[in-house]
């Protein structure tokens, strides 16, 4: 997508966010993303932005998609994560295996969830969900997006990856650190309609997640930009000892350096000549790290106000950490990067 078109798309996402998201951000964090928001995202074509038009998506190219993810994350990392789960993870895993499911999810008619904690750091073995040949039953913990009509999960024992279509009851888990808009949940499944997506579930999930380096970078950079915009605005008007906070050297230089990193990484992210896996991975590793640091300083410079939800800063701090655990495979990424740098398996000891 030419940069002029990227700018137009960016303006469209910002306009949508100003109109539909901005006044609902606190509600969204407290109560989760509701159906009307999902429908609004679908109507605008953002929910299925990367899904091909033949499956009911918008079919925009990757450069445009990254703009959508980054801009949405600037306002709400949860909304951006929902779009990525729908447009990238679910759609890639299902694709031609069940086009109708993809169409329903892209249009906002149905919600999709993917259980991929088994490939993340601190994982446990998949337990509880059993496939008998006729039905899929049991319980699956830690599914991201806790209110789904469709669930993608491995089955215990075989490790096959399935698309489970209905028969899903969910209970929200107590985890309240990150992505409060979509939540983590435990699914109780009793379903006879399901489709096998892959024999080696772990491998397939890892392939898909590892193909999303730039998408995760876009969300990370949205988080850091959202946090930095807030803290720049705040430190201009907030005074201490009769001077605006921005006049104090440690505040100004810290924010300025973080903004410099932000700009350089945004230039890299939107550079359409980046094709090498190594470079994509480098951007991701740095972008996620920046999101954590930028949101931490943004909170710190807000003082006590940063610690309460009303100012909308603490969510970036929570979501940056959640992003690095729930959507990123950081140790695996470090080893992938080391392998790219050294040309062979490295950094595993």
């Amino acid at each position: 997508m030419p940069s002029e078109e990227q700018d137009i798309l960016k303006s469209a996402v910002q306009e949508f966010a100003q109109k539909s998201l901005l006044n609902n951000l606190l509600k969204l964090e407290r109560e989760g993303i509701d159906d009307s928001m999902v429908r609004a995202l679908a109507t605008q074509g953002f929910l299925g932005s990367r899904i091909p038009e033949k499956y009911g998506g918008s079919g925009i190219d990757q450069s445009g998609y990254l703009v959508v993810l980054e801009e949405l994350a600037t306002f709400s990392p949860s909304v951006s994560a929902l779009v990525m789960l729908t447009s990238s993870v679910f759609a890639q895993l299902v694709g031609d295996m069940d086009p109708e499911a993809v169409r329903r999810v892209a249009s906002g008619e149905a919600m999709a969830s993917v259980a991929f904690d088994s490939i993340l750091e601190g994982n446990t073995t998949v337990e509880g969900l059993k496939e008998s040949g006729k039905s899929m039953t049991g319980e699956r913990k830690h599914i991201l997006n806790a209110n789904p009509d469709y669930l993608i999960s491995e089955a215990e024992g075989s490790g096959f990856l399935y698309l489970i279509k209905g028969g899903i009851e969910t209970k929200e888990e107590d985890q309240i650190l990150s992505f409060r808009g979509i939540k983590l949940g435990t699914a109780r499944v009793n379903c006879s309609t399901y489709v096998k997506l892959a024999d080696n579930g772990k491998k397939r999930l890892a392939e898909v997640m590892d193909s999303l380096d730039l998408e995760i970078s876009a969300i990370a950079l949205g988080i850091s930009r959202g946090a930095l915009q807030k803290v720049i605005e705040y430190t201009k008007v907030r005074k201490t000892f009769d001077k605006p906070l921005k006049d104090y050297g440690p505040v100004a230089s810290t924010i300025s350096k973080l903004m410099s990193e932000q700009r350089v990484l945004e230039m890299a992210l939107h550079n359409q000549e980046i094709e090498e896996e190594k470079e994509k991975l480098m951007i991701k590793v740095l972008a996620v790290d920046l999101a954590k640091r930028a949101s931490k300083y943004a909170l710190q410079f807000h003082g006590g106000y940063g610690y309460i939800e009303d100012f909308g800063v603490e969510k970036y701090y929570r979501d940056a950490m959640g992003l690095s655990i729930l959507l990123q495979r950081s140790r695996s990424d470090n080893q992938r990067l080391a392998k790219e740098i050294f040309g062979e398996k490295s950094g595993y000891l």
Partner: protein, 375 residues
């Protein structure tokens, strides 16, 4: 130099640790956190069993550490009901000590310290709340923000402006005791905090609140100095809270890694993780030594603000570092367990009772002053 605590403090630590294991269960901590509910039964029990003993500051220090090691929200809630008492202890009249401190020392009542205002957190001298003398009373007007125990305290030690500054902003400030049930005094509980959600925090609004003149603590116009003296004490206790959080995170990392080893997944404990564990443990130990040194000066009535600020800033940064790394190491199991709460709780340590930035300014200015004086 002896690094061992005397036996009574060792026993106090053990008692606090046993109490925490029995009374601060992870499942309860999750509920209080989620519902933002103050665990008053826990607080009362801690007093009844003698876990909270304000007559012995070393005992309080190690008790705070052990309770926050189990859970910071509940641990702080159980130990903070005398917040601000030192101002009365050090500068109050005998009558005030008898009237106000007796009931809080037995856990029957709760008190709070009201200094911070919406317009200035770090800038204590910039407060706007006024107390005008009218006969035998003060008329108090203004508001206070982020006040611990704000909507549950029976009374507050409050910093107010009693006269215009005479060219120096910190002149003209005084401390008075303001009882919570006075007409014109309203409290709004703050919800939606990132962490320490079991603690109570509120905004206080005072509209023509009449306070007896006898509630003035110490001398009129000396309030700023009293509060700075108090912060020197309270910062050591905040350092203890932070050490508790960091140690709690380390405990859970070691437990997680132990489980990996037991289940045949030792290869996942890479050297990168081992280095992080070593870093966290070293920082926790360094925080402890710094805090105990600062406390040692403090509890012998020879406060050293430089050391206290070093301890508070370093221990707070350690808590944030330890909890962040704990989540990175434990991943999904950490974020779906107690560690996510530790991570949220830790951040306030770098903000309340003096931000890390303020602590660093205190340290530098004291060092520069000492250097210029040739010390």
């Amino acid at each position: 130099m002896d690094f061992d605590f005397p036996e009574d403090i060792v026993i106090a630590r053990q008692k606090a640790s046993d109490f925490a294991k029995k009374e601060i269960k992870p499942e309860d901590a999750r509920v209080y956190d989620k519902q933002e509910k103050f665990p008053d039964d826990l607080r009362k029990k801690a007093f009844e069993l003698g876990i909270v003993d304000y007559t012995n500051p070393w005992s309080m220090l190690v008790t705070i550490e052990e309770l926050c090691r189990a859970d910071a929200g509940m641990g702080i809630a159980a130990t903070v009901s005398l917040f601000g008492a030192e101002v009365i202890m050090l500068f109050g009249s005998d009558e005030q000590k008898q009237k106000y401190l007796g009931s809080v020392q037995t856990g029957k009542k709760i008190m709070g310290l009201a200094v911070t205002e919406s317009g200035g957190g770090s800038d204590v001298a910039g407060i706007k709340t006024t107390a005008k003398r009218e006969g035998d009373k003060f008329i108090v007007n203004g508001s206070k923000m982020f006040i611990t125990n704000g909507s549950i305290a029976d009374f507050f030690v409050m910093l107010v402006r009693t006269s215009s500054p005479d060219g120096k902003r910190h002149h003209g400030l005084s401390t008075i005791v303001v009882e919570a049930d006075l007409p014109g005094f309203t409290k709004n509980k703050l919800s939606g905090k990132l962490g320490v959600r079991a603690t109570n925090t509120a905004e206080l609004i005072l509209s023509n609140v009449e306070v007896p003149a006898g509630n003035l603590i110490g001398e009129e116009g000396k309030g700023f100095y009293y509060i700075m003296t108090f912060f020197n004490i309270s910062r050591a206790y905040v350092a203890a809270q932070a050490i508790g959080i960091a140690q709690g995170a380390l405990d859970r990392i070691l437990s997680h890694l132990g489980n990996l080893a037991k289940s045949g997944r030792s290869e996942e404990i890479t050297e990168e993780i081992q280095f992080l564990v070593a870093d966290i443990a070293t920082r926790v130990e360094a925080s402890r030594l710094l805090t105990y040194k600062a406390a040692s000066f403090l509890f012998q009535f020879k406060p050293n603000p430089t050391l206290t600020s070093m301890a508070k800033a370093y221990a707070s940064e350690t808590a944030v570092f330890a909890t962040e790394k704990a989540l990175e190491i434990t991943g999904v199991s950490g974020i779906t367990g107690d560690l996510e709460r530790f991570f949220r709780d830790a951040k306030i340590m770098e903000i309340w009772e003096g931000t890390s930035e303020i602590e660093k300014l205190i340290i530098s200015r004291n060092l520069l002053k000492e250097a210029s004086e040739g010390n």
